[in-house]
């Protein structure tokens, strides 16, 4: 039978507020254990939560970013469970009345197509601390620095069909929240953590199968692998006539498999009820409108604009709008050189390639966008060839200055003077009588290939600085 997978994702997004959601402690990553844990975070007797207004602001920003209905009166609830890294014995979350209601946003797939994925809801909650089991010889350490870090739990509709879409969804989400500047989106530091709900059903069926939940998957690649593995596991069971058990599973990246969590790790009855220490969060239209006005152009809008205004493919547009700094960079390059296609090519191939090779980010890029634009201008006006431009770019990267400065200093200006070129061509022809003979005897096809040979020799002799168009033209004349 052909099985169709139905996938929904729950993403826990760390909001980039300076302080925690219910206390004044800092949220900086990587501090010494328990140096960012106040009496509130430690759940000392008599301590009370106070809601961080910034977290509400960020949540509303997200809601507006996905065109969702904003909860005008959202309520915090206690989710009760005992665990050492949950100091109060309950987590403050939102259950019945979340701050962000239904919305949706568009994802862009590798084949260039797009899809809209529904968002069921997004709610605010606090993160737990961490239990540290190493270095304590049969005991456990507890670090509460992360306890109380604001999270936005974003729950998608079961609209996702496979691992590729799931990754595209996460990338689009990552791009959206970094555009909105509500999260650093740093997956390695746990700023985006993902729970995957997945079930299979016969192709064409409209009822949902029994689902398994895979907890806490923390990279795009692991999400992809966990889903692929889980689809295989479930279809194997179904093919053998078995049934799927509704359960919570863990993805083990080392073994590349999912396995059930121990029953102790599985939640039971959370006894949700409204948190009596906090008032309902009441939001009015003026507040929403004020935030609406601060929203930047969002990735989807920008992608469509790039495709249209610059005549780019949907794929190029989506790569270039993946992050706001990259999109901004590209637009400066285009504005400087006035050729979007070459600019798109240079930014994607040379710039991103170099950033990738050096394992660095655009923020650290030594070549300002206007300088890259300047370099492209010199290709377009014939001062240098594309090949030489790569050398120039390399030099610019090393800090040798603007394109013009590098061309000048290294004497890389393209030789377009026909007198000089004729001299070189004459030498090349004189030096390769055999090939000249072959050329003269050859048919059209063969001549083309041999022309390439002569162009190559001329370029070599000119150290790549000969203007290739002129070389072609002059060679044609001389060999005729």
């Amino acid at each position: 039978m052909n099985w169709e997978s139905v996938i929904g994702l729950e993403v826990h997004l760390q909001l980039a507020t300076r302080s925690k959601i219910f206390s004044g402690s800092a949220t900086t990553f990587g501090a010494e254990p328990n140096t960012q844990a106040s009496a509130v975070d430690l759940a000392m007797p008599g301590m009370l939560p106070v809601l961080n207004a910034e977290a509400v602001h960020y949540a509303v920003k997200f809601g507006l970013g996905i065109g969702a209905k904003i909860g005008k009166r959202s309520i915090f609830d206690r989710k009760n469970y005992f665990y050492p890294d949950s100091p109060k014995g309950y987590q403050i979350s939102q259950f019945e009345a979340p701050i962000v209601g239904e919305g949706s946003f568009e994802i862009s797939l590798p084949d260039g197509s797009t899809r809209s994925i529904g968002i069921t809801r997004a709610h605010l909650e606090e993160d737990a601390g961490k239990s540290l089991h190493e270095d304590y010889h049969g005991q456990s350490g507890i670090d509460l620095n992360r306890a109380g870090t604001p999270l936005l739990e974003i729950v998608s509709e079961p609209d996702i069909r496979d691992a590729t879409e799931a990754v595209a969804y996460l990338k689009a989400l990552h791009s959206l929240v970094t555009y909105l500047e509500i999260s650093d989106g740093n997956m390695a530091e746990g700023s985006m953590r993902c729970d995957i709900n997945i079930s299979l059903r016969p192709q064409g069926s409209s009822t949902l199968g029994t689902r398994a939940e895979i907890k806490n998957v923390n990279s795009f690649r692991f999400v992809e692998k966990a889903i692929q593995h889980e689809i295989e596991r479930q279809s194997d069971i179904l093919e053998d006539g078995g049934t799927i058990v509704q359960e919570t599973r863990l993805y083990d990246a080392q073994r590349d498999e999912t396995r059930p969590m121990r029953s102790k790790e599985v939640a039971n009855d959370y006894r949700y009820f409204p948190e009596p220490d906090l008032l309902p969060v009441v939001i009015d239209d003026a507040y929403i409108l004020a935030i609406q006005h601060t929203l930047p152009e969002l990735p989807t809008t920008k992608r469509h604009r790039f495709a249209e205004a610059y005549g780019l493919s949907n794929y190029d547009a989506s790569v270039l709008t993946d992050s706001r700094p990259l999109a901004d960079y590209f637009e400066v390059v285009v504005a400087t050189c006035n050729d979007a296609k070459i600019a798109a090519n240079w930014v994607q191939v040379e710039l991103l390639g170099q950033l990738n090779r050096e394992q660095t980010s655009l923020a650290q890029c030594p070549v300002p966008a206007a300088d890259l634009g300047g370099l492209i201008t010199r290709i377009l006006d014939g001062s240098i060839s594309g090949k030489i431009a790569k050398q120039v770019f390399e030099a610019m990267w090393q800090g040798e200055g603007s394109a013009d400065a590098v061309i000048e200093a290294r004497g890389l200006k393209q030789v377009s003077d026909s007198g000089a070129l004729e001299g070189i061509i004459a030498e090349v022809i004189a030096g390769h009588p055999e090939q000249v003979q072959q050329f003269l005897e050859a048919d059209e096809d063969r001549r083309k290939k041999l022309t390439g040979f002569f162009v190559g020799q001329v370029m070599k002799a000119s150290k790549g600085q000969a203007n290739p168009q002129m070389v072609n033209a002059l060679l044609a004349e001389k060999l005729a």
Partner: protein, 487 residues
């Protein structure tokens, strides 16, 4: 001077009749000599108290005194005190020394008042007799064979026995008013949100409220002036402006409309107690008030509603006591589960465990709608009843308790009859209203309390009525003496 009220002490200190060190020393001496009889205090720090008294004397000498500067006070052991053990009456926190002050304590400290010590209480404020305290029950100074009431029984006993001129208490279902009634003192539970809950160890967050316990309404007003006010660290604290509660004390009661709810005078009220209350009401009538019958149609829902809401909140408020970060931890836990279960088994007493079980049950999947949700709906009806009454009357009056203090141990095996003790006080907490108890007579040589209930933020009016009543009566001036009444 131990016979003086806070107001008199305040005047005496400023006039130089005595120093704060002298006053403080005097109370510390009385505590050391007499508290064995009453068990009103869990801890006393003489050195810190005298150091604070010296500082207060310097402040008074410098002409910078606030009304409570130099006044020694006792605080219920539910208010966190920086550097001083705060047990909440529980073995669980027997070793707990907070690194911070509750907002209420902070306010009293900056007013320059002195902490004599921390008073006994029912464990985690769960009880109406003080008998659930890990430190043993406090005794009623009027009859040490009887309970002082609870949960703020230690504070009530300390004030009644003149071991402190005034004290703080907290009231979740009557825990200030009932012990005030049993011990013959004046106690005020303010409107929910009037006094910050920060650093006040939580029992039931939506019901808990701290307030003053003293010998007179005037003293309660002085105390409340210091305690009340918005606290940005308690989201449920109100930003309604605080009035000067002493300003309106003398206002005439002419034209005051007092509502008498039928439910507070029916079956269950001890007849001699009812008689006391009627005489007190006659007194108020003589002062110019008019008495009208009012009805609180949902009164019968009060006890069941309270015993869902309070334990539900308590069951999760007390989850933090897990032996991991502070407080009691069982010896040599085998694993996490063992750590949790043995720590809580050993650290909590029976009444606390009973309420955690009730609350956990009421919030459980499948029961939530039938219990907690229903209780919240009933709570709204109860509150609306009072709001309706206040359309036609200014305050509501009735007995604080069904009868006088009962004997220690009398209700040991009957938690439900203990719960019924609070039948007249619980609704006030469910509705978030201010309520007071003031001495209104004696039955079997034990004090009886008159309860006054006001509309939200009507503390000023309640204190005014109580003050005028106390000017016309002398019940509040009577004291049990130093142990003549030992049973």
């Amino acid at each position: 001077m131990h016979n003086h009220t806070v107001s008199q002490l305040s005047q005496g200190l400023r006039e130089g009749s005595y120093s704060s060190v002298e006053v403080t020393r005097n109370y510390l001496e009385r505590i050391a000599r007499l508290d064995e009889r009453y068990n009103a205090f869990i801890s006393v720090d003489e050195t810190a108290a005298l150091a604070a008294a010296e500082a207060a004397d310097a402040r008074i000498a410098g002409g910078d005194a606030a009304p409570l500067t130099g006044i020694p006070l006792a605080h219920k052991d539910i208010f966190c005190t920086k550097g001083m053990k705060t047990s909440c009456g529980s073995r669980m926190l027997d070793n707990f020394v907070p690194p911070y002050d509750a907002t209420v304590i902070e306010r009293f400290r900056s007013a320059g008042s002195i902490i004599l010590g921390k008073t006994n209480m029912d464990e985690f404020a769960m009880g109406s007799s003080n008998e659930s305290s890990y430190y043993g029950a406090a005794r009623n100074p009027w009859n040490t064979g009887c309970v002082p009431g609870g949960s703020s029984g230690g504070s009530a006993a300390a004030v009644a026995a003149l071991l402190a001129p005034a004290a703080t208490g907290t009231d979740t279902g009557g825990s200030i008013r009932q012990p005030a009634a049993f011990c013959g003192i004046t106690g005020l539970k303010p409107t929910y949100g009037r006094v910050s809950r920060l650093g006040m160890i939580a029992f039931a967050s939506s019901l808990d409220q701290g307030g003053p316990m003293a010998r007179t309404a005037e003293d309660c007003a002085l105390m409340l002036n210091t305690m009340a006010g918005h606290d940005p660290r308690d989201s449920t604290s109100s930003d309604v402006p605080v009035e000067d509660y002493t300003a309106g004390l003398e206002k005439s009661l002419e034209g005051l409309r007092i509502g008498l709810p039928d439910a507070y005078f029916g079956e269950g009220l001890d007849s001699a107690t009812g008689e006391c209350i009627h005489l007190a009401l006659k007194e108020l009538e003589a002062l110019g008030a008019t008495l009208t019958a009012v009805s609180l149609p949902h009164s019968e829902l009060t006890i069941p509603t309270y015993y869902i809401v309070a334990p539900a909140e308590a069951s999760t408020n007390l989850s933090r006591y897990d032996g991991v970060r502070y407080g009691h931890r069982c010896a040599d836990p085998a694993d996490l589960h063992d750590l949790y279960t043995r720590t809580r088994e050993e650290g909590f007493g029976d009444e606390v465990k009973r309420r955690i079980l009730i609350g956990t049950y009421a919030l459980s999947a499948g029961y939530y709608d039938a219990y907690y949700k229903k209780a919240q709906q009933a709570r709204r009806l109860i509150r609306q009843d009072f709001l309706d009454c206040f359309q036609s009357v200014d305050i509501i009056a009735g007995p604080t308790t069904p009868g006088p203090a009962f004997a220690l141990g009398a209700k040991d095996n009957d938690p439900v009859s203990m719960y019924l003790e609070d039948v007249y006080t619980l609704a006030v907490n469910l509705a978030g209203l201010p309520g007071m108890s003031l001495p209104a007579g004696f039955v079997q040589d034990k004090p009886i309390g008159l309860q006054l209930i006001g509309p939200h933020f009507g503390e000023g009016r309640l204190l005014n009525v109580a003050h005028r009543f106390q000017q016309a009566t002398d019940w509040h001036t009577r004291t049990p003496g130093d142990g003549e009444h030992v049973a």
